[in-house]
């Protein structure tokens, strides 16, 4: 939750994408996508299902290989095939829609796995930091429980702790409230808000428009794999320039989600 790594120089973007193209089979999922994420800012990706939000995040983390274009993390081109992908992923935390906790491990083991195995932190040290983070996210009593004993909201908060435990430079949140019951959404969004206050750089794909408007410094509207509109939350939500953005937002309002 602190922002470690001192490699940034001034306001150089943490993440930069240029002309990123990604296809699955014959269908183009991302087309000419440009994106810049400044340090300590929150970028919200909005758009209908299938618009490419999740794919964009997966490309940023190198879980998907892009077809064309380039991606930089802290000024280093990570799409260069000579780059050590594992080393890149170590600097990026990801939280998934379906939590993806490891069901055969306790909460504590889920959180300490990467610090211990990847970063070579001693067990005692890793567990101390894990317990501290769990405590801070209201999960103090759950360290020794297995994931299937937790509610969806608790599982998702554990997933956030797991991503934070390696002190990532950048946090990618992929529709992290989409699988939650409505009454559990708030507790997870609260955590994201806290992280923003602590200066964590984040990119989140979300359907929670109210939350995106609230928390995002930059909003990108994706449509058919293209960033159709981008700007501050006020611009995109208050005065959208594109007809498609307007139509999308109108549907959201009609559905009572904004």
């Amino acid at each position: 939750m602190s922002t470690p790594e001192t490699t940034t120089v001034g306001d150089a973007p943490v993440l930069r994408m240029e002309s990123v193209r990604k296809t699955f089979g014959g269908s183009v999922v991302l087309r000419d996508v440009d994106l810049e994420v400044a340090p300590h800012t929150v970028t919200a990706l909005i758009g209908a299902s299938g618009s490419g939000k999740s794919t964009l995040l997966r490309c940023a983390n190198l879980l998907e290989e892009i077809d064309d274009g380039a991606i930089w993390l802290d000024g280093e081109e990570i799409t260069d095939p000579r780059v050590d992908q594992d080393a890149v992923r170590r600097r990026i935390g990801v939280v998934f829609q379906a939590y993806n906790l490891f069901p055969h491990m306790t909460v504590l083991d889920n959180v300490t796995l990467a610090p211990r195995r990847v970063h070579g932190v001693s067990r005692a040290e890793a567990e101390e930091r894990a317990r501290e983070l769990l405590e801070r996210l209201g999960l103090g009593g759950k360290a020794d429980a297995y994931p299937d004993r937790l509610s969806g909201g608790q599982q998702q908060r554990v997933a956030i702790v797991r991503a934070l435990a390696v002190r990532p430079r950048l946090l990618l949140l992929d529709e992290i409230t989409a699988a939650l019951d409505p009454e559990l959404v708030g507790e997870v969004l609260e955590v994201v808000r806290d992280l923003k206050d602590q200066g964590m750089t984040m990119v989140l794909a979300t359907h929670e428009m109210g939350f995106a408007r609230d928390v995002a410094d930059q909003v990108c509207f994706l449509d058919g794999g293209v960033v159709l509109e981008r700007g501050t939350a006020e611009q995109v939500f208050g005065d959208p320039r594109q007809e498609r953005t307007r139509r999308f937002l109108r549907r959201i309002v009609e559905a009572g989600r904004l």
Partner: protein, 306 residues
């Protein structure tokens, strides 16, 4: 096996019912519930009575059919002679010790080798291409090759080569043949387990910065092995009885011990004894497998969302 599962499920349901009744909230079962339970009990009693009756009738019919068969007196003498049964029993038990040792050693070897082959088959990357092909060819070949032919080739063929320094001990060779065949089966069981772990688990592990190998070791394999315990135990039960086949090379196991007596006396009772001893040996293992499976099913039912 299904019967056991059904029964245990019913027991579980009853237990929960009692627990709810024991909750400390002043709950008094309604007349409706009591009536329902009375009816269910009566129905269960009727079912038990019916089952006992039909079992008795079936047994009686079978007995009469067998005993009245024209060849029964002669069959009884050659297959169910008390005298030869007593003589064979201790010999067979002595031989069985060899089967048990073979099971333990081959079982361990099979698990290790099977795991290595399964992992080899799932390795990605061009460097591992030959390894992948080799592992695939291995499983294809040894799963298709009848065990008895495999045993004959190894147990009889290897000594015929008269290689220097290579053992001709039928036990070692027989064990090797068993391990070769069963490793192929077990490798497929492990591979199915590895592939059953959802790709999102690997994605989560990789996104934390774990290398491909670390993701396999800490995230994928533990889940794969846990899920495959029932089929693995099933293969071990099967291996246990197939250890009897090493007798074709002349190793004196339970089957061969029986064989020796049969050859001398021309009475087949020792085979029956050996067969029953094997069955007796596999039953605990089978029950254990059922128990583990039922336990895992229950846990999965509780687990709900992965």
């Amino acid at each position: 096996m299904t019967v056991t599962k059904d029964e245990s499920a019913r027991e579980g349901a009853d237990g929960e019912g009692d627990m709810a009744g024991g909750a400390d909230d002043g709950y008094v079962p309604s007349e409706r519930r009591l009536a329902r339970e009375r009816y269910r009990r009566a129905r269960a009693r009727r079912a038990t009575a019916l089952a006992s009756l039909s079992t008795l009738v079936t047994a009686a019919v079978l007995y009469l059919v067998v005993v009245n068969a024209p060849g029964w007196p002669r069959t009884k003498e050659t297959f169910f002679s008390a005298h030869y049964a007593r003589e064979a029993f201790w010999k067979v038990l002595e031989g069985l010790w060899l089967n048990v040792r073979l099971l333990l050693i081959c079982g361990a070897a099979v698990l290790v080798l099977g795991m290595l082959i399964a992992v080899a088959r799932t390795l990605r990357g061009p460097v591992f291409f030959p390894l992948r092909v080799l592992a695939a060819a291995y499983t294809d070949f040894f799963r298709g090759l009848p065990l008895i032919i495999n045993l004959m080739i190894v147990v009889l063929g290897v000594p015929a080569l008269r290689l220097q320094g290579v053992t001709v001990d039928p036990v070692v060779l027989g064990g090797t043949a068993l391990t070769l065949t069963y490793s192929a089966y077990v490798a497929e069981v492990f591979r199915a387990g590895i592939e059953s772990v959802h790709p999102s688990q690997r994605a989560a592990a990789r996104s934390l910065g774990l290398t491909s190998r670390q993701a396999l070791r800490h995230v994928v394999l533990p889940q794969a092995v846990r899920r495959q315990v029932p089929p693995l135990l099933n293969d071990l039960v099967s291996l246990q009885k197939d250890t009897g086949l090493v007798s074709i090379g002349g190793a004196v196991d339970a089957v061969r011990a029986a064989d020796i007596i049969v050859g001398r006396s021309l009475n087949y009772t020792p085979y029956i004894v050996a067969g029953l001893v094997f069955v007796a040996l596999t039953i605990p293992m089978t029950r254990f497998t059922d128990w583990v499976t039922a336990r895992m099913d229950r846990r999965q039912a509780q687990g709900g969302s992965l």
